[in-house]
Symmetry: C2
């Protein structure tokens, strides 16, 4: 039995987001962990389930559903998911997935590396749907693919907006992809899979549960460099995605709305509490996210009077390259802090003359040495 | 000629927000400055205007319009206006007013000390008008008076909301109060004056100009401990009031709206750039503003490991009293920094264990020494 088959078998019996299993696999390899799980006493529920799995049937079922099982060593594996391996668990869930069932014609890693996640309420308003669809379409025109959860409401509007644009979209689901949930979105999932991808940590035949939705949310937050919350009431699963995105130092954004609207409660609260940056449209989002590969390393030997900077300021200052300029979102990612804190620190650093902002809002060192001719 | 009459005469010939005149009056007294202005050569425009003023006629005209002229030594003078004496000028305007023409039955100082300024666009939407009226009414029910500019749109909605509540409201105008502008609001100004106040730095007979509106904005920002921006397009005079309020370290708040709405452009931008805190209603505003007199002095002799705090953190930490708790808005006022920065610093101080937040969101020291019995 090879590593991929062992990972697939484990993924079929272990609930997603189980940090101990992910750690054991990282330490000993999936084959050893799978063997060990099968050897557990018969009264251990995991062993009971493991003994019921016939790996070859799982492979056949995956193929029959037109799916592939992607693992971390695959070229297609999104590198960003490695961020789930360390750090603090949210809701006691954590860990890089053992593997992902994927359907569709897109290259998952490439789709996600330049994506934006758009999340929000199932019970969205017409305002929220319009904003999500416009964001999806305009970000797609701007070259970003859209990652979302395939649900009714904001998710569907964002996927559809992207489908109307020029990039593929990615739906990350909380159950098996052979019978994707919600069933009413089957035509939508088929269109998504044409050029994009439908993705799940769950084996074919598995149904979504509350915990699986929460585990799925961590994947959405991890897969995209930035997450936009469009609408969410006071209690909403989308809030959980935002918590994950902040824990993973992603760029977290939220769209405001009318103050009387219950579904704008959570975006407003997150903005007010500096857990998300207010964005009003695709232009704001694109400005906050990095144009890829703009940075270059700091010129060595430079001396700066950074002794008076606090820890956050120093991290932000060090995250700005010696040459070139970066948007605030990329600076925050490099500094490993939330964007609102980064914006406040950038503001202070600019006031104190450590940094400057160009006409496009990107940050750079204030006195750049001119390039010497030849 | 007494000091009050000299101030009134000067106020009638000097444009408001003229920092040099305010400084000269503070240094030499109004009588000396008035005499000096009258003695200037005849080709000095100020002297020309000064020679046309007959102070006794000014007094008569003030009385005839049912107004009083209030000066800094008066018990009714709002103490907060002294903050205009120092600091950086905004738009080259600055300075504490020489005096204020006031009409109405309210005590200006008391009305302003527990007020909230609500400002915004003349060309407001139905959404903005509703939000401003609700805010005015609910803040009034919460014991706050409303300061605004008496203009069409947001100002009028806020004044009317307050009139429907239980506290008086204050309209600060940019022209003489004998013919208040806009003329269509004459009935509104009469209702405001019944229990509240109409206020102007301009003498009776003077008309508003662009510069006078800007100078008036600084008074609104200074008079109220907090300013809420409800709606403002990209170019709006209300933006200037917010700049003043931040320069004066007041609590600056903004109400979000639908992202497609042009009149929510400036609130969204201010929130995004941490120049204003997002508020969704009166509850948010009341939470950010101080319940009066909650603070008590720091217990002397306490030792804390504050060496690692940066300048802003230290100011914020020092602004939290040794006993009792304060809302973030009051901490920011005491620390003399903008509220968004204060919120970020409070967040860091809480993470590092220097401060804690109670169930009402107020900030206090984490390990309070219990009161000794007797």
């Amino acid at each position: 039995m090879d590593e991929r088959l062992a990972r697939m078998s484990l993924a079929a019996v272990v609930e997603p987001g189980h940090p101990a299993v992910a750690e054991a696999v990282a330490a000993y390899g999936a084959e050893a962990v799978w063997a060990s799980v099968r050897e557990q006493p018969a009264d251990v529920p995991l062993a009971v389930r493991a003994r019921r799995v016939v790996p070859e049937e799982l492979v056949a079922r995956t193929r029959a559903a037109g799916l592939r099982f992607v693992v971390p060593d695959d070229e297609e594996w999104p590198a960003a998911l490695a961020d789930l391996a360390g750090g603090e668990p949210v809701n006691e869930l954590s860990g890089e997935p053992l593997g992902l069932w994927v359907g569709g014609g897109g290259h998952l890693g490439e789709l996600c590396s330049s994506s934006v996640a758009i999340v929000g309420s199932r019970a969205s308003t017409a305002y929220g749907d319009t904003v999500a669809a416009d964001l999806g379409a305009e970000l797609s025109e701007g070259g970003r693919s859209i990652v979302s959860g395939g649900a009714y409401g904001i998710d569907a509007a964002a996927h559809r907006g992207c489908l109307a644009g020029r990039t593929p979209t990615v739906a990350v689901l909380a159950g098996g992809l052979d019978q994707p949930y919600p069933a009413g979105h089957r035509p939508l999932f088929e269109r998504i899979a044409e050029r994009g991808a439908i993705v799940s940590e769950l084996a074919p035949g598995e149904h979504p549960t509350r915990v699986r939705f929460l585990a799925r949310n961590r994947l959405i937050a991890a897969l995209a460099p930035g997450t936009v919350l469009v609408e969410a009431a006071a209690r909403s699963g989308a809030r959980n995605t935002v918590t994950w995105a902040n824990a993973l130092a992603r760029v977290v954004m939220a769209v405001p709305g009318p103050v009387g609207s219950a579904t704008s409660f959570t975006p407003h609260r997150l903005i007010r509490e500096a857990e998300a940056v207010l964005v009003t449209g695709a232009t704001d989002v694109l400005e906050l996210l990095s144009p890829l590969g703009r940075a270059s390393p700091r010129t060595p030997g430079e001396h700066r009077a950074t002794d008076d900077l606090d820890g956050v300021e120093l991290r932000v200052f060090e995250a700005v390259p010696g040459r070139g300029a970066l948007p605030a979102g990329e600076v925050a990612l490099r500094a490993g802090i939330t964007l609102p804190r980064c914006l406040a620190a950038l503001d202070r650093l600019a006031e104190e003359g450590f940094l400057a902002q160009d006409l496009h809002g990107q940050w750079h060192l204030p006195h750049r040495t001119p390039h010497r001719a030849r």
